[in-house]
Symmetry: C2
Subunit: 364 residues, 2 copies
């Protein structure tokens, strides 16, 4: 999507055809800084230091990390080294493992001189496939937004609420929850987005606001607490969020607080949609609340808030008493009964076992 009017992806091949460009997301929203990855080590550092984040983008960066590794040392030991270094960069990232496993399977049988070129070709494919999936999610979501806009009599503006960042910065382009929003904006539907700040890590305030502003989509930041009040007063026409994991029954695990917004949407008759790529469906789990383990993160994310200081630096301030105990569950589960529909690359379905089986019959 656009940054200062210029189209970007979140990762790209440099003009020289071998170095890899990324946006340093640790500097957002305060500074737009791009980095040039020139080695396996650069790629590992970018992943570990969270200059790139979001499952699809981590996978794409890892694929290019393998390519950079092969360019430097295409031997079997070089392949093993690149594989191990990337796997260790973010050990729990599913897309990272998927990308480097696939790369290793592809490259290992090849003669070393052929490996680098094949790796670059596959990395580019991984990126293009992700863009294709997100773009398809966007098209299917656009149809929903178009219906909502018709239903509103094309009057005023269409208010969409989102949570966290499921935008192009988390993928290669388009995003998941934000893809329909970008498509609708580009199609001329006068959208306005309510962005929940998404405590504790503030990805809404930092990343989603920055993304939307850069592409020219009107938005307003709110604290997470304000979502229900806006819905009570008819200020939200529909909600779209992303999800980290969807169960076979249509329950969705997503950033902490999603469940509260879904409850408010349900209480006020506001449609609540969840956008996801098919591969994030976990067909092995039925009950999301009981079955999905929830990561407990560092208490310091709750007791401290990072941002830009008056003198232009970036610092953290402590908002709680010294020694304050804090709990920090990173995700919650929204039961399928609160979800109006799931937007996938294959279309929109009911958040239910039947709905999902209809779109993914090969899993039935």
């Amino acid at each position: 999507m656009k940054v200062h009017g210029k189209p970007y992806r979140s990762i790209w091949l440099a003009e020289d055809g071998w170095a890899v460009g990324i946006i340093d997301q640790t500097r957002l929203p305060h500074e737009f800084v791009t980095r040039r990855l020139q080695s396996l080590e650069d790629a590992v550092r970018a992943i570990r230091g969270m200059q790139v984040r979001g499952a699809p983008l981590i996978g794409a960066t890892a694929a290019y990390g393998m390519s950079l590794g092969m360019r430097a040392e295409a031997t079997d030991s070089g392949l093993d080294k690149a594989y191990s270094a990337l796997i260790a960069a973010r050990p729990t990232a599913v897309n990272l493992r998927w990308a480097v496993d696939g790369m290793k399977t592809l490259l290992a049988p090849m003669q070393p001189p052929a490996r680098a070129e094949a790796a670059y070709r596959r990395a580019a494919e991984i990126c293009d496939e992700d863009v294709e999936i997100c773009s398809a999610i966007g098209e299917h979501g656009l149809a929903l937004i178009g219906e909502a806009w018709e239903k509103k009599g094309k009057d005023g503006r269409l208010n969409v609420l989102t949570h966290c960042n499921a935008g192009w910065l988390a993928t290669v382009d388009w995003g998941t929850a934000l893809a329909p929003i970008y498509k609708a904006h580009d199609a001329g539907i006068p959208l306005h987005v309510w962005v929940g700040e998404t405590r504790p890590r503030n990805q809404g305030a930092g990343l989603t606001c920055w993304e939307l502003g850069g592409h020219g989509v009107p938005y307003t930041l709110i604290v997470d607490n304000a979502a229900g009040h806006l819905m009570q007063h008819g200020q939200v026409d529909l909600c779209i969020t992303g999800t980290d994991r969807t169960t076979a029954s249509g329950d969705v695990a997503n950033k902490i607080g999603t469940y509260l917004k879904a409850l408010a949407a349900h209480d006020n008759g506001v449609p609540f949609y969840v956008a996801l790529p098919g591969p994030t469906i976990d067909w092995t789990i039925g009950d999301g609340v009981g079955g999905i383990p929830i990561e407990e993160r560092d208490a310091a994310e709750v007791t401290r808030v990072a941002g830009r200081t008056a003198d232009g630096g970036i610092a953290a301030v402590r908002i709680a008493p010294e020694g304050c105990a804090a709990a920090n569950p990173a995700f919650d589960v929204t039961p399928a009964r609160l979800v109006s529909g799931l937007i996938t690359e294959r279309g929109v379905c009911q958040a239910s076992a039947e709905g999902l089986r209809g779109l993914f019959p090969e899993r039935g």
Copy 2:
């Protein structure tokens, strides 16, 4: 309640019998600093600068402000001056107006030499009456907590969730929502309190955590987003919040985000109680969502977060892109249907017109 083991009220008469002590709440939770108010001007500054906050405490401080004014200049013009200066300090504070109106009515007919002593006496009464109301709320709430503890088979600990700060710092002592919690803790019930940080102003993280810690009540800070997840997993036995205004039908306006917590409590079968002094019931309004105007506050409260820096100072950091638009509704309305009961100084009643009329028959 206790601070570092020593009992305090939020406002007190100094040992010399004329100066007034307060806690500078702008320094909390980072520093415990008391201030000595020695003049009308000191009292005005303390109110305007929010060194004292919370409706009952503002009223009490204004009453002592009138006393300090009378001590310096007990003439009719001195009375007018004190009245006008205090009213202008926080123009929309209902308790402030109530306190200074009452003082003026009391003092105006008196001879000037009698005014100062009468003012101090009345200010002390206002404080004691507030403590009595909050203590009675505490006793009635204690009974509810005791029942919940019995129902849990006195097993483990009783987990209570609260929002914002409706504690002794907002009143003269005990608080409203926190009064039952202090009474239960003092009675030996093993309570643990989940404190929602309460974005955007973080009164939960800053004030409620500090209060509870000072009195020795176990607590854990969470982001507001985490409340639903904890309830889904049986980690909350009951909720108690305060309210700024209750309608004749039992709807409650309280700090933004209260509605979302009430929705989650309802969805998970967790009792949700609201504690309030009778005088905060607005008998003129039926429907809270339609009838209670909601204050829209400065966007900078959303885009910036204040706290303690690494070097010990207090500073604000910006968490959103420069120029980011933000909306900041300060309160929301929780419909009576989501409220399990109202805890007042006269007892506990259903959140309904019938329930309230039963406790306040003189308003029926």
